[in-house]
Each structure stands twice: as structure tokens, then as C-alpha cells.
């Protein structure tokens, strides 16, 4: 294996450790690739240190977020109220329809009984 072929392995080394045995064997015998791998380890360590840094946002961000959440909450409440009314309306129409049907049946059956009597 040549150094150029190893470039991807070195950049892919998680925690700076090589998995592929042929890559490991090459690095053991190549000072340049050893140096490159060491530089990747330094890079990964340096990147890790950024995890402890926290940027402070400009004032007002938290309140902007809370306002948008409140607005979303209100929209959702309005939607569910409308959904509830719609269901009540459909339910009302269905009940009225059924009641009308039942009344018609009663009238028809009474008329038939009168005619038969």
C-alpha cells in the first residue's frame, strides 16, 4: 500500500485509530503517515474542545422563541376547538336525520294500521 492510497484511511480513523490491518502495517513502517495520523489525532482532540464552548446569543432570542411557541399553542387550541365544533355539527345533523327518519317510519306504520283497521 502506498501513502496516497492511505490518505482516506487516515482521515477516516475514528479517535485516530486505524481499523484496516494493511493500513496499520503501512503506518508502522512509514514515518510520514505516522506523522499525518498524529496530526489527525491532534485535530480530533482540538475539535472536541469546542464542545465546551458556548456562544451567547444576542438578547431577545429566548423571548422570541417563547412568543412563537405561545402563538403555535394558540393556533393549535383554535384548531382543536374548530374540530370539536365541526364534529358537534356533523353529530347534530346525523341525529336530526335519524330522528326525522324514525318519525317518518312511525307515521307510515300508523297510516298502514288505520287503512288495515
Amino acid at each position: 500500500m502506498r501513502c496516497e492510497e492511505l490518505a482516506d484511511h487516515l482521515a477516516a480513523a475514528e479517535g485516530g485509530h486505524l481499523v484496516e490491518p494493511t493500513a496499520q502495517a503501512h503506518v508502522q513502517s512509514c514515518l510520514r503517515c505516522q506523522a499525518e495520523l498524529a496530526q489527525y489525532r491532534k485535530l480530533l482532540r482540538a475539535l472536541r474542545t469546542l464542545r465546551t464552548e458556548v456562544l451567547t446569543p444576542a438578547p431577545g432570542l429566548v423571548s422570541d422563541i417563547l412568543v412563537s411557541i405561545e402563538a403555535a399553542g394558540e393556533r393549535s387550541a383554535v384548531r382543536s376547538a374548530l374540530r370539536g365544533r365541526k364534529l358537534a355539527y356533523i353529530g347534530g345533523v346525523a341525529v336530526a336525520g335519524m330522528a326525522g327518519g324514525a318519525a317518518a317510519l312511525v307515521l307510515v306504520s300508523r297510516r298502514r294500521m288505520r287503512l288495515a283497521g
Binding site: 482521515a11 499525518e36 485535530l43 456562544l55 412563537s68
Partner: protein
């Protein structure tokens, strides 16, 4: 972001809006930091953070708790940042916000070591901001925030192998700029 927020998360999942607001207050700076690192500018970072919490609020009921809340929030942030950068692609501006205040949560006590570490962190921050956004996103999410390749690929809308290729390319560019080997110095300074 410490995950000692379990009680708040449970209450928020049950629909307690004040618990969710407490979660927002506790995590905004960390979410903003990730958003800033992904987008590279304050305006986009603010938009991404707002969108992140709005989406988190709408879907907190679906959060199962099998991942840490912080990891869940990072994934939403990554997805929102990818969308934001996609929208901005045509008229992207890459100004550097050098005046963004930095707060070190784990300061060194040795002044010379601290100065050296600060210098390296500043160089690294500059190098990260100099990366193309699509490369920057994967290296930030993987090497700083420790998200798995699979999650990164899912949130950025790319395949896992594409995420790995971008990661290796990003690492190589950062390494050549910050820790050049003999023969690479001229190229690194020319960038």
C-alpha cells in the same frame, strides 16, 4: 447540554407548556452554539433556533426518551440548519462574526496553556467557518457533537456513505490548514 432535565422533559411530553419553556431557557445557548457553527452567521442561527424549538414543541409528545433530549434537539437543529442553508443557497453570505462572544465553560488555570488553547480554538473556529457549509455540517455534528453517521445522514438528507465522504474531506482540509505536514505549508497558507 446536561441531561439532568428529565423531569422537565417528562412534564413537557405530558403537555405542560411551562415545563417546555423551562427547557427552552435551559438549552437555548447550547442550541444556538450548534446552529451558529452549522450556519456560520448570527441571523441564520437565530432563525434555525426558533424553528428548532417550534418543531420540538410540536413533536415533544413523540419523543420516546430512548435518546438523550440533547441529542434529539441536536438532530432537529441539524435538520433545520440544512433546510435554512438550502433556502439561502442562492444568496449566501459568508461574513465572519468575529465579535460573537465566547464563554468557556472549562477554563484552564495555567495562563500560557490557556492562551495556547485559545489560539488553537480560534484558528480552528476560523478554519471551520472557511469550510463549505456541506462539509462543515458533517464535521461539526460528528467530531464536536458526536452524532452517529446514520443520524447525520438522516438529518442532512444524504446517504451514510456520502456523509462519511464529506467528513473525511472536511477533516483533511482542516488538518492541512491547521497541522500541515512538510510540503503542505505553502498550500495551507494559500487557502
Amino acid at each position: 447540554m446536561p441531561d439532568e432535565l428529565g423531569g422537565l422533559v417528562t412534564a413537557a411530553r405530558g403537555g405542560d407548556r411551562s415545563a417546555f419553556e423551562a427547557l427552552v431557557r435551559a438549552t437555548t445557548a447550547d442550541t444556538y452554539t450548534l446552529a451558529f457553527r452549522l450556519t456560520g452567521n448570527e441571523e441564520d442561527a437565530r432563525d434555525v433556533v426558533q424553528e428548532t424549538y417550534l418543531r420540538a414543541y410540536k413533536s415533544i409528545g413523540k419523543f420516546r426518551g430512548d435518546a438523550q433530549f440533547s441529542t434529539w434537539l441536536y438532530r432537529i437543529t441539524a435538520n433545520c440548519a440544512a433546510n435554512q442553508l438550502g433556502r439561502r443557497k442562492r444568496h449566501r453570505h459568508d461574513e465572519l462574526f468575529d465579535d460573537a462572544p465566547l464563554e468557556d465553560l472549562a477554563p484552564e488555570h495555567d495562563p500560557s496553556a490557556q492562551a495556547e488553547a485559545t489560539n488553537l480554538r480560534n484558528q480552528l473556529t476560523d478554519a471551520l467557518e472557511g469550510l463549505p457549509p456541506r462539509l462543515r455540517a458533517v464535521v461539526v455534528l460528528r467530531d464536536i457533537y458526536d452524532l452517529p453517521h446514520e443520524a447525520i445522514a438522516a438529518e442532512l438528507g444524504i446517504s451514510e456513505s456520502a456523509a462519511k465522504v464529506r467528513l473525511h474531506r472536511a477533516r483533511r482540509q482542516l488538518r492541512e490548514r491547521l497541522f500541515p505536514l512538510p510540503g503542505e505549508e505553502d498550500e495551507a497558507h494559500a487557502v
